[in-house]
Subunit: 204 residues, 2 copies
């Protein structure tokens, strides 16, 4: 609580990668959860590939460590069901989320951004669609009443590519090592299981 | 619910390694949590070293991946505080839990087992004591009114060593890749964050 009993809320940064399974579980509910508690939400699309590479991993840990991967798919089934979310294990994992991350990066202030993010995750983890395919992203954009050609073209502009690289470097600088991650006033929380803790921190 | 409205409970296996930070958070409360819900608890001390080695890791992932390790210590601070548990980052990590695991393995049916397990974790993660030191284990055993010399001697018997190896092999066979893990009727749950889910499964 701040002075005079006015509750102080701090922004919650949501660091997400479109290839990340557990990020789907957070992305599906984070906008509503933040709104319900009056917490400003800051979308932080970034790429896990360079973060994993910096740790010496050339693939998802869920592929590098098969026992961990096998567990993750069973756990995702259960956790998605708990949250009432559709889930289908995709044929390919991880998918390439670069194009979708660039679209998000180029449109952080668009009114359709949250709906787009949820649409991409739904395509990836509920519909087994290829989210690296411009046609998939176009369909998602059209459904959100966005201009797909303009959005996809803007996503490929040099300053957008540079911005996404910068966000990924900032993630690493902030100690992010996986996704989803949440940062509130410099405090890092990792994993869908920590979303509620991050919300608590934002309203503490 | 079983026939006639009688609730069916299934045993909950608690797979733990004394060097594991998050296992401390589960060990501290699992006996009471199981008792409160009428769930039979099966203690499964095992060794993570061979499990990690089989995955190609020669050290704790928290040491191999420093960003992940730095986060874990901050998260442990917060999670221990949430659970009302004392916590102090030990000087050395991971500790060697072999001797303590052998003591537990040799005394799975002792009335003091749960209290011993909690004592070892408390020594490791609240008191910064060396749990590989027989003097540390003796003090814990004495406080539980157990005969330390007899218990430590029994722990070094060949069949106890073989039994611990067998439990570790069984963990790997069951898909265990980290600690703490919980298994209920063949269903694996990983991590302190999943203890409640495992309890739900045991009473479903």
């Amino acid at each position: 609580m701040g002075l005079g009993g006015v509750r102080v809320t701090r922004p919650l940064e949501f660091w997400f990668e479109f290839a990340s399974t557990y990020s789907y579980l957070s992305a599906a509910r984070i906008e509503q959860a933040c709104a319900a508690r009056g917490v400003p939400l800051v979308w932080k699309p970034f790429l896990l590939g360079p973060i994993f590479a910096a740790q010496g991993m050339t693939d998802s840990p869920f592929n590098l460590y098969p026992a961990k991967g096998a567990y993750m798919w069973r756990d995702m089934d259960r956790e998605a069901a708990r949250l009432g979310l559709p889930f289908q294990r995709p044929d390919r994992f991880p998918q390439n989320g670069l194009r979708a991350a660039r679209v998000a990066t180029a449109h952080l202030d668009a009114p359709w951004l949250g709906d787009f993010v949820r649409g991409v995750y739904h395509a990836a983890f509920a519909e087994n669609r290829d989210i690296s395919d411009p046609a998939t992203l176009s369909a998602i954009l059209i459904a959100r009443h966005a201009d797909p050609d303009a959005a996809l073209a803007r996503a490929e502009e040099p300053q957008v590519k540079a911005q996404l690289k910068g966000t990924t470097a900032a993630a690493q600088e902030a100690g992010v090592f996986g996704a989803p991650s949440f940062i509130v006033a410099g405090t890092l929380f990792w994993g869908n299981d920590r979303l509620d803790r991050a919300l608590d921190q934002a309203t503490a």
